[in-house]
Amino acid sequence: MSPLLTVEDLSIGFGRGDAVVSGVGFEVNEGQTLALVGESGSGKTVTCRAILRILPRTAQIRSGKVMLHGRSGGLSLTDLGERKMRAVRGDAVSMIFQEPMRSLSPLHRIGNQVSEVLWLHKRMSESAAKKIVLENFERVGFPDPERAYKSYPFELSGGMRQRAMIAMAMVSRPDLLIADEPTTALDVTTQAQVLGLINELKQETGMAVILVTHDLGVVANMAEQVVVMHKGRIMESGAAAPMLQAPAHPYTQQLFDAAPSIPANPEPAAPPGEDDLILQMKGVSKTYTMRAQSAWKPEVLIHACRGVDFSLPRGKTLAIVGESGSGKTTAARIALGAELPDRGGEVLFRANPQGAPIAVHSMNRAARTAFQKQAQMVFQDPYSSLSPRMRILDALTEPLEIHGIGSKSEQRDRAAAKLRQVGLNDDMLMRFPHAFSGGQRQRLSIARALMLEPSLLVCDEPTSALDVSVQEQILTLLEDIRDRLGLSYLFISHDLAVVARIADEVAVMRQGLVVEQAPPDTLFYDPVHPYTKALIAAQPTPDVDRPINLKLVAQGAGSADTWPDQFRFTDDEAPSLTQVQPGHKVRCHV
C-alpha cells in the first residue's frame, strides 16, 4: 500500500533569497500522525503550507513533489491546477491553525464559517449542511451546538474557538488533517483536551494527521512518526517511540535536554525556612467592577484575587502558576505596587534583613522611589517590551537617568557591565532592538531590569514567547544571576515544568484563589488538590510511557462543583487554605 502523502525533495525560497526549506522529504501513512518538530525558523510551518500551496505570495516551491493518494486517487499536488487544488483544500486535506482567536472571521457566525466547507465542496443546501455541522459541533464537545452555530467567534473562549476550527476541518471528513501548532496559544488543560479530541477523531475516522509543533511533550502524546527540522533541513526522522527514547542526532538530543519536564520520580522536599522574608502579601484581594450594561442591572464584580497570602524568603524564588485569568499577573502587579489591593490587604517589603518592613501601598514619594529601585520587572514579550526606536544604550541607561544615578560615563560603564552579566557583548550597546533575536532581547530586558541593582525581580512569564532551547538558556541565566547577586524572584508562569526547575516554592492559582502551595518537588510527589492534579496530568512530557491522563484533567479543570466534596465551595465561599503538612498548603475542608 502506498503512503497517503509523499513529500519528496521539497525546496522553498522567498523572493531571490536562499532556500528556507531544502531537500525535505517524508511520508505520511493512512491513519497515522506525523509530527513535524522544530523551533521557530526551522521551516516546519512553510513546509506544511507548501503541501496545500497556501504559501505567501513571495514564496515559491523551487523543487520537489508532493503526492497525495487519497479518496480521489493519486494526485500530484505540486503540479495541480489552481481550480483542482481548491477542490483538495478543505476537502481531502484540511488544516487548523495556531491562533484560534484570529483564524476565524470576527464578522461571520461560526455556523456559517463551518458550513461553508460543505457548501463549497459538497454543494449542499444550507439546511443539509447545518444538520451535519451540528453533529460535528456535538462531537467536538460544544455543550449547545445550536447556540454555537449562531455564535460569533468573539463570544467563545479560546478552547471553544479551537474546537470550532477542528469542527471546520473535520466536517468534510478529510483524508489528512494538517494541524499547525494547534495548541500553542491555549492553556495547558485546554491543550490536553484539544489534543485528546484530535486523537479520538483520528481513531474514529481513520484520517492521517500532520502535527506541527515545537513541543516534544506533545509529540510523545500524539505521534507515530517524527520529523525533526532545523534551519530548513531534516535532522532526523523515524518512528516516535524509539526516537524519543534514544535520539540519534545531536540536534534532537539538544532539543530533548532543553525541554523542561516535571520530574518522573519526585521526592518530597523539606519545607522552606521562613526567617528572612523580603516580600510578604497578607490577605490581598482585588475586585474589579465592570460597568453594567444598563442602569437597571447591578454592576458585575470580578474577583481577580481573593485573599492571597504569600511570603518570599530572601534569595529564593516563589512561583505563581495558573492559567489565563487565574489572577497571577494581578497578584504580581499588586506586589510591585502597580495596583492597589482592596481594603484589608497588605504588602510588606523588607529591603535588607535588618531593616523594618515597609508597606508597599502606603509609601510616601521618596520611599516609593527607593522601592522602585529595589523591585524591577521582566516582561513576557521581548519583542514588544523594548522600544524599537531606542538604542540599547539608551534603553539601559534610562532607569539610571530617571533616578539620577551616576554621570554619563558611569551609566555607560554600568550598561556595558550588565550586558556582559547577561551574556551579551558590550559592543552591542549602539544597536537597535531589531538587530537581536528573541532570546537576546529577553537578555536585554533582564539587563535593563538589573540596571538599578534591585533585590527583587518580578518575572512575568519571561520564557513563554521563546523557543525551548532559548528558554533553557534564559532559565539558566536567571538561576545564575539569582545565586550570584542574591536576588529574589516572584516568578509567574503557566508552565509547571518551567517552574519545576527554577522555583523554591510554587503557588497554584485558579480564579483568583491559591488552591495549593508547596515546594515543587512536594507538589509533584503528592499533589492533593484536583486542579493541581489536572495541571500536572495535562503537562505533556516527552516520554511515551507517561501519556496525558485526560480523566484527571477533565476532573480538575472543570468547574469547582465537580470536585470531590472536600474541595468544593459552600455557597460561593471557598474552603480555607489549610496546612496538610509542614510547608504544604491546600485549599480544602479538613
Binding site: 497556501i54 488544516m95 470576527p106 464578522l107 466547507v117 468573539f154 463570544e155 467563545l156
Partner: protein, 342 residues
C-alpha cells in the same frame, strides 16, 4: 428589534445635536458686529436716502432684529412668538433673504434638491469607482495593476478640481457633445418635472459628478487598498483559502467586509465636505447648488439665508452619521453585541 431600538435612540440624539448646532450657528453668524439691515441703514443714511431707511427700519421690526439676541434665536427657531406669531424653522418658515428680497424658501427651493442630487451622484461615483479599484489594487499589490491605479489616483488627487472641470467641459463638448455649465438646459428651469427635463439633468450631471468625485475617489481607493492589505495578512484569510474558497469570493466575503467599516463610518463626513468643498467647482461649472449661495449670504451677513443653509448642511451631516452608525451596527456584530454577556 435591537437595531430598531438603536435607530430610534440615534434619531433622538440627532435631534438633540441639531438643536445644539442651531444655537452655535446662530451665535456664530451674529458674532460680527451689526447685521445686514443695520449695515444697509448706515449706508443709506450716509448717502441720504431716507425713504430706504424707513423700509429697512420696518424690516428690522418685522423680523424682530431689534429684539435681544436670545429672543431673536427663539423666534427664528419658532420656539417663541415673533411679530407674526409662531413662525420659525420648525413651523416651516425659513425666513427672509434681505440680499435677494425674497423668502429663503424660494431662493433655495430648487437648488436644495439639486445640491442633494449632485452630491449623491458624486458619492455614488466615489463608492462605485473606488471600491473595485481599491480591491483590485490590494489583491494585486505591487504589480503593474496596482501601480497604474495608484498613478491614476494620485493624478486625480493632484489636479485642481476647477482645472479638471474646464478641461472636461472643453473635451466633453468637443467630442461627446456634452453641455457646458448649469444643471439643465435653460428652457427647463422652473418647469415641472418631465422626462425631457430629467434627461437634460442627467446629461448635465456627468461632468460635475466626475469633477467633484475624482479626488474623493483617489483618496478612498488608497485607503481601501491599505486597509485591505492589512486584512489580507490576517490568519482568517488563510483559513478561508485553506477551506478551498476561490480568491475573488473569499476577498469579498471576509477581508473586504472587515476593511469596509471605516468607509461606512465615513458616509457622514462625506456629505458636508462635498457641499463646502464644491463651492469653487460650482462657481466654475455654473451649478445651481447651494454652495455659492452660502458664500454670498455669509459675505453680506444675510443671516436668515446663511443660517438656513448651514442648518441644512448640518442636517445632511447628522443624517449621514446616523445612517453610517446604524449601518455599522448591522454590519459588525462586535459593535452590536458590545457589553452582551458571553
Amino acid at each position: 428589534m435591537q437595531i430598531l431600538r438603536y435607530a430610534i435612540y440615534r434619531f433622538g440624539t440627532m435631534l438633540l445635536t441639531l438643536l445644539v448646532v442651531s444655537v452655535m450657528i446662530f451665535v456664530i453668524i451674529n458674532l460680527p458686529p451689526g447685521d445686514y439691515l443695520s449695515n444697509q441703514i448706515a449706508e443709506l443714511q450716509a448717502t441720504g436716502q431716507t425713504s430706504g431707511v424707513a423700509k429697512a427700519e420696518f424690516l428690522r421690526t418685522e423680523f424682530a432684529l431689534d429684539k435681544p439676541l436670545w429672543q431673536q434665536y427663539l423666534i427664528w427657531m419658532g420656539f417663541m412668538p415673533g411679530p407674526h406669531g409662531f413662525s420659525g424653522m420648525i413651523q416651516g418658515n425659513f425666513g427672509w433673504s434681505f440680499e435677494f428680497d425674497l423668502p429663503v424658501a424660494e431662493i433655495v427651493g430648487d437648488t436644495l434638491w439639486l445640491t442633494v442630487l449632485v452630491n449623491l451622484a458624486a458619492v455614488l461615483f466615489v463608492y462605485l469607482v473606488a471600491l473595485p479599484l481599491g480591491v483590485l489594487a490590494a489583491a494585486r499589490a505591487k504589480t503593474w495593476i496596482d501601480y497604474t491605479a495608484a498613478l491614476v489616483g494620485y493624478l486625480g488627487l493632484a489636479t485642481p478640481n476647477f482645472l479638471l472641470a474646464l478641461i472636461l467641459f472643453y473635451y466633453g463638448h468637443k467630442y461627446l457633445n456634452l453641455p457646458i455649465g448649469g444643471l439643465m438646459d435653460p428652457q427647463f428651469e422652473g418647469e415641472p418635472m418631465t422626462f425631457e427635463k430629467m434627461k437634460s439633468i442627467l446629461v448635465h450631471l456627468i461632468v460635475p459628478t466626475f469633477v467633484i468625485g475624482t479626488s474623493g475617489t483617489a483618496a478612498m481607493m488608497q485607503r481601501l487598498r491599505a486597509n485591505l492589505l492589512d486584512e489580507l495578512g490576517k490568519p482568517y484569510v488563510e483559513t478561508a483559502v485553506a477551506k478551498g474558497m476561490a480568491e475573488s469570493k473569499m476577498l469579498v466575503k471576509y477581508p473586504l467586509r472587515m476593511a469596509f467599516n471605516p468607509f461606512v463610518a465615513d458616509i457622514g463626513n462625506l456629505l458636508p465636505s462635498m457641499v463646502s468643498g464644491s463651492v469653487l467647482v460650482s462657481v466654475v461649472l455654473g451649478l445651481q447648488t447651494i454652495g455659492p449661495t452660502l458664500l454670498t449670504a455669509l459675505k453680506s451677513q444675510d443671516q436668515f439665508l446663511a443660517g438656513f443653509v448651514l442648518m441644512f448642511v448640518a442636517l445632511l451631516t447628522l443624517i449621514g452619521t446616523m445612517i453610517s452608525d446604524v449601518l455599522l451596527v448591522i454590519l459588525d456584530p462586535r459593535i452590536r453585541y458590545e457589553g452582551r454577556e458571553a
